[in-house]
């Protein structure tokens, strides 16, 4: 069946983006795999981690299977302390777990766990992000007549407000001076504006991973600054994608690419990630629609 075979797109048409540096065995990897790997490294053993769909679930799975076996993974759907056996398609897909220790309502996850301060780390994807880590995941363009309507805030607005640390991933998104829509609040207007607005102390975005580099937030001004570039990416390349005068760390961190072990796990347990590349998607969409419409016409005849 042509339609059902689209699963097999997973490894075809891979885009060889980066080459690894010398000390790791030379192998190719996708930007998304690099992002998942970097995100997973933020999870410490023992952390209570709230995961969203896509990159976060894959990162949680990777950390749990490697350096953080004792981390507590949870999703807002009320699947608490789960052991994944493959990356879930969405946050309520408990059929992709090997079991979990606490089944509760969505309301319990938000109130008794998140709002009470028991989430150490959460991950959020963004379509637009500004200088102070405020996030847009709702619309691109004017709210009333947008260029693109995105999924919406989901639980993100509350996650970023209450989790001790938030890692933002910006895979296909952009840096903007002003967000088209503020779905989730970061450091608002910088400085101590977040504390003044009664956000719980000691919370806020801690790291941003883009498709080109890793960014931190200044302790005092809360402004985004470049921490390190991916292998093969120059500071100037990153500057071009940022509409303001980007601050840069005095010493840039060297970012090592994922090892073979990590890559193996990602490819084995989260193959779906790669299908989401736009090149494959376009191919998939046209293939499927043609196939189905064709079959229907045949039927009519």
């Amino acid at each position: 069946m042509k339609v059902l075979e689209m699963r097999c797109f997973k490894q075809s048409g891979t885009n060889k983006v980066f080459r690894t540096v010398s000390e790791v065995k030379e192998m190719e990897y996708e930007t998304i795999e690099f992002i998942v790997y970097l995100a997973s490294r933020e999870i410490q053993n023992g952390d209570r981690v709230l995961l969203g769909q896509g990159i976060p679930i894959a990162a949680g799975l990777l950390a749990k299977m490697t350096h953080a076996p004792n981390c507590i993974l949870m999703t807002e759907a009320g699947i608490i302390d789960f052991m994944p056996y493959k990356a879930a398609f969405h946050v309520a897909e408990s059929t992709t777990t090997k079991g979990f220790s606490y089944a509760c309502d969505l309301s319990d996850t938000f109130t008794t766990i998140l709002f009470r301060g028991y989430v150490d780390l959460c991950f959020l994807g963004a379509a637009q992000v500004d200088k102070y880590g405020n996030i847009n995941s709702t619309v691109v363009g004017d709210y009333e007549s947008p260029k693109m309507r995105l999924p919406g805030a989901g639980g993100a607005a509350d996650f970023i407000a209450y989790a001790k640390k938030t890692v933002i991933t910006l895979r296909g998104g952009e840096f903007v001076e002003k967000l088209d829509y503020c779905s989730s609040p970061g450091y608002l207007t910088g400085g101590n504006s977040r504390e003044k607005a009664c956000f719980p102390p000691g919370t806020g975005p801690s790291l941003l991973i883009s498709a080109q580099g890793v960014f931190g937030f200044d302790k005092k001004t809360k402004e985004l600054y470049l921490k390190g570039c991916f292998p093969g990416v120059e500071v100037e390349d990153i500057r071009k994608s940022i509409p303001w005068d980007l601050k840069i760390a005095p010493v840039l961190e060297k970012i090592d690419p994922p090892t073979e072990e990590y890559l193996g796990i990602i490819r084995k347990f989260a193959p779906g990630l790669i299908v989401r590349k736009s090149k494959d998607r376009t191919k998939m969409v046209s293939g499927v629609v043609e196939f189905i419409m064709g079959k229907q016409e045949k039927k009519k005849k």
Partner: protein, 345 residues
């Protein structure tokens, strides 16, 4: 005056409860019905419909039935959606929706019906956060008029931009105990909740396990509840596992037996999500003509869920349906025994 009112209320209550007592036997049998009967009887044009399940075991059989019966001007309440909204909007059933998340496979290559409806203003959408919707439903379920949500939402456009809820989307007060500024949402009671669960008895005691999400509060908040289930089981089975029951039978209006009732969504212990089929849907969803073709092929041209599954098998083969089936992995039984064992009673 107040006393008279109270007396009248009491008389009414006694009458109603007597009336109910006489009707118990009949009502129990009346609850089991087909999806078509349940939707006809309990969902009317213009009503607000709350999707009970949070992504997992989405009540798609009932949603398809709503589409088939061409219900109009509904208001949809749901925290997070995958393909449900696109189906309902594509079929022209929705007037308004309150939601926090409507899935998009991503990127500009795959526009959705939700996006088109948004741009063409065919549907009024109130953007919320998952928890603020949950809070409105929880308040409604508990009989409260409002619920507190994090004040931090005030710094987002969820607070600033308002659609049909307008002034009543959020309100602020000072906490009478601490003096802190509080953000509130109103309690809501949607007209009807539709929910798909693993098993239910003839009385409507519905058991759900896996990702519980919003199921309990969504149903309890609503005025009427329609339950579809993979299996209808004996009351004895429910009685020996009450910890799995999320809705008490006396709240449920209709019980619908609907195996594969959530396909292509997953039901813990029964089947996995049909990812390729959902891929097909999103591919078809990318333009209005192919979406209509999808609706005709999978909903309008079929009578019920049984035909849907038959059509699926005809289209893709039994192998693909079997592939989704869950292998059993039973939960450890809980001992509900006491000094009075069931035998001695």
């Amino acid at each position: 005056m107040f006393r008279v009112n109270l007396l009248l209320f009491y008389i009414k209550f006694v009458l109603v409860s007597f009336g109910e007592n006489f009707m118990v036997e009949e009502e129990v049998h009346d609850k089991a019905m087909t999806a078509s009967e349940a939707v006809k009887k309990f969902i009317s044009d213009g009503e607000s419909v709350c999707l009970g399940n949070f992504l997992q075991s989405s009540p798609l059989a009932l949603i398809h039935e709503i589409v088939r019966q061409r219900k109009r001007d509904l208001t949809l309440w749901s925290t997070s959606l995958i393909d449900e909204a696109d189906i309902l909007i594509g079929a022209g059933c929705l007037k308004r929706m309150v939601t926090a998340f409507t899935y998009r496979v991503g990127g500009a290559t795959l526009p959705t019906e939700f996006e088109r409806a948004w741009k063409e203003k065919r549907v009024e959408v109130e953007d919320h956060s998952n928890y603020s919707i949950m809070a409105m439903l929880m308040a409604g379920a508990m009989g409260l008029t409002f619920m507190q949500v994090p004040i931090t939402l005030k710094y987002t456009d969820i607070f600033n931009k308002r659609s049909f809820m307008g002034e009543n989307k959020f309100k602020e007060i000072d906490c009478p105990f601490t003096g802190k500024r509080l953000l509130l949402v109103p309690g809501v009671n949607p007209d009807v909740a539709i929910v798909h669960v693993q098993r239910v008895d003839a009385y409507g005691n519905a058991q759900l396990w896996g990702a519980l999400g919003t199921a309990k509060w969504s149903c309890l908040a609503s005025k009427k509840i329609v339950v579809s289930a993979e299996e209808i089981v004996d009351h004895e089975i429910i009685n020996s596992s009450p910890h799995l029951t999320i809705i008490p039978g006396f709240r449920v209006n209709a019980v619908v037996l609907e195996p594969w009732g959530a396909h292509p969504a997953e039901v813990q212990g029964y089947y996995d999500m049909d990812v390729p089929f959902r891929g097909v849907f999103f591919a078809m969803d990318a333009n209005p003509e192919s979406l209509q073709a999808f609706l005709y092929e999978w909903i309008y041209n079929l009578e019920n869920r049984e035909e849907y599954i038959e059509h699926y098998i005809e289209r893709f083969g039994m192998k693909y349906l079997q592939r989704l089936k869950a292998k059993p992995y039973f939960s450890a039984p809980a001992n509900y025994g006491s000094s009075f064992t069931r035998e001695s009673l």
